[in-house]
Symmetry: none
Subunit: 255 residues, 2 copies
DNA sequence: TATGGAGCTTGACGCAACGTCAAGGTCAAG
DNA sequence: CTTGACCTTGACGTTGCGTCAAGCTCCATA
């Protein structure tokens, strides 16, 4: 029985098993200066004592609460208050939860939409753009039930009707692109003929709902302002041409 | 005016701005083969057309729903169904949400505990039970001054010491619960390692006072008999497992 | 005592999705 | 010809380890 306090030490694997982690983690913690072995053998082996075990316990506890290793380091060094760190961390967690909730909701509605026939309207109406994605935008601009009506109208169509409607849209768009690139004037007969078709097209799309001056000109502005649309109308310049032609039409027929 | 379809193209910055992302991202997408520029100038400049813009839109839409780039790649290539991918992804999101909720709850209770915990051994020593409440019981079982000693030991500790000691207790208990539920044998190495830690823990709790065979095995029995304790060790079955493991340990080391 | 198998060591790459320099060409305008 | 804005290709940093890879050490058995 010696008088020297025999401190029991553990190999790296023993410590890992006891604490429910891996030796790699322990080495990592040493690398970043978070947890040093209490002793290192002549052969380079790491040995840990109870004190180190205690420190490891705290590290793992804080880590499973989600704290980052640098933050844990500060807490253990006493440079940062435990509860303060936890409180700050809690904020992040709550934020993250909100983000997740929103994302989950988005994914659900997206699945919903693509499951039902709306995917047709979605991917086809603007040749790749989901107009239902802009629901709020539409509602805000043209009234709360405009969207609902449009939606109902679309779903009420037969497959054949939808197909033909889609074809009309695409012809219209390519017509606009061609006209825009030809350099014709916005108030030319050809451009106005296109504007007339655009009007008819929108009228049918709105399920008989009135296409007002504001709606028509506003839509024109949106084509220009929003790259999601302008891309389909021949870029910014093309969209500007469409807008101008629509404005002329509106002034003549809807004012 | 030629008949060749003049396709408008955009520089990398224009595309980035239009789509609300960065040029670095576009280059990254090219690197991983997700989105190629429609044309590359003799100087190496990247140019994108409307089709590329469309593809980018879809990429960004799916990305903001949280899908990984490889998954998005498959969807765009048609090798993976959109809704299937989204549905699988939704599962992950829901799982992640659960994890977050639990973590948030843990952090909250931890903050709570460390806040009010500094004062008494009271509610913490046995994770919610006031050991001073069992004064007579302790005195009767392990001697009249055992309680007094334990009490002095506890009050003599610094706040930091008490905190770490409390954390050790909790780790031990959760370790026992996990072990009990895993179905391992009471005399297995892992169970005995826990028993060893339990012994060390009690030794430190007793302030250097000897932990006898009787004390150790008696305590094990108490864990089973008293629901106030068994609740913390994974119910009656869990507590029985703890008792058995402690008995084996006592036979081997304390007999 | 030789050997085999565990256990230990130090690198170093990989992951997810880019952000962020760094060093240097290109292009239109003054 | 010189700015200055925009473009290019590297290449490292981020977070917390997992996962080889190559080689040394230790203990127990033949």
């Amino acid at each position: 029985m010696g008088m020297t306090p025999e401190v029991t030490t553990y190999s790296i694997q023993e410590v890992a098993k006891a604490a429910g982690t891996t030796s790699r983690t322990l080495r990592h913690y040493q690398d970043i200066g978070l947890l040093e072995p209490s002793r290192t053998g002549h052969n380079g082996y790491r040995y840990y004592d109870d004190e180190a075990l205690l420190r490891l316990q705290r590290i793992l506890l804080l880590r499973q609460l989600g704290l980052g290793l640098p933050e844990i380091h500060k807490v253990l060094e006493g440079t940062r208050d435990t509860t303060a760190a936890l409180r700050g961390h809690l904020e992040l967690l709550l934020q993250e939860r909100d983000r997740l909730e929103k994302q989950i909701a988005s994914v659900k509605t997206t699945i919903d939409k693509t499951e039902r026939g709306e995917q047709l309207m979605a991917e086809e109406m603007f040749d790749g753009f989901d107009h239902t994605q802009y629901k709020e935008e539409v509602e805000e601009r043209w009234g709360k039930d405009a969207y609902a009506k449009g939606d109902r109208w679309w779903r009420g169509m037969s497959d054949a009707e939808r197909t033909s409607w889609r074809e009309r849209s695409q012809q219209l768009m390519s017509g606009w692109v061609a006209a825009g690139q030809s350099g014709m004037a916005a108030d030319s007969d050809e451009a106005q003929a296109l504007a007339q078709r655009q009007f008819d097209w929108l009228a049918s799309a709105n399920g008989g709902q009135e296409v007002s001056f504001g709606y028509f000109t506003g839509l024109g502005e949106m084509y220009v302002a929003d790259p999601r649309f302008s891309a389909n109308y021949g870029g910014e310049q093309g969209a500007a041409f469409v807008r101008d032609a629509m404005k002329v039409y509106a002034d003549r027929h809807l004012a």
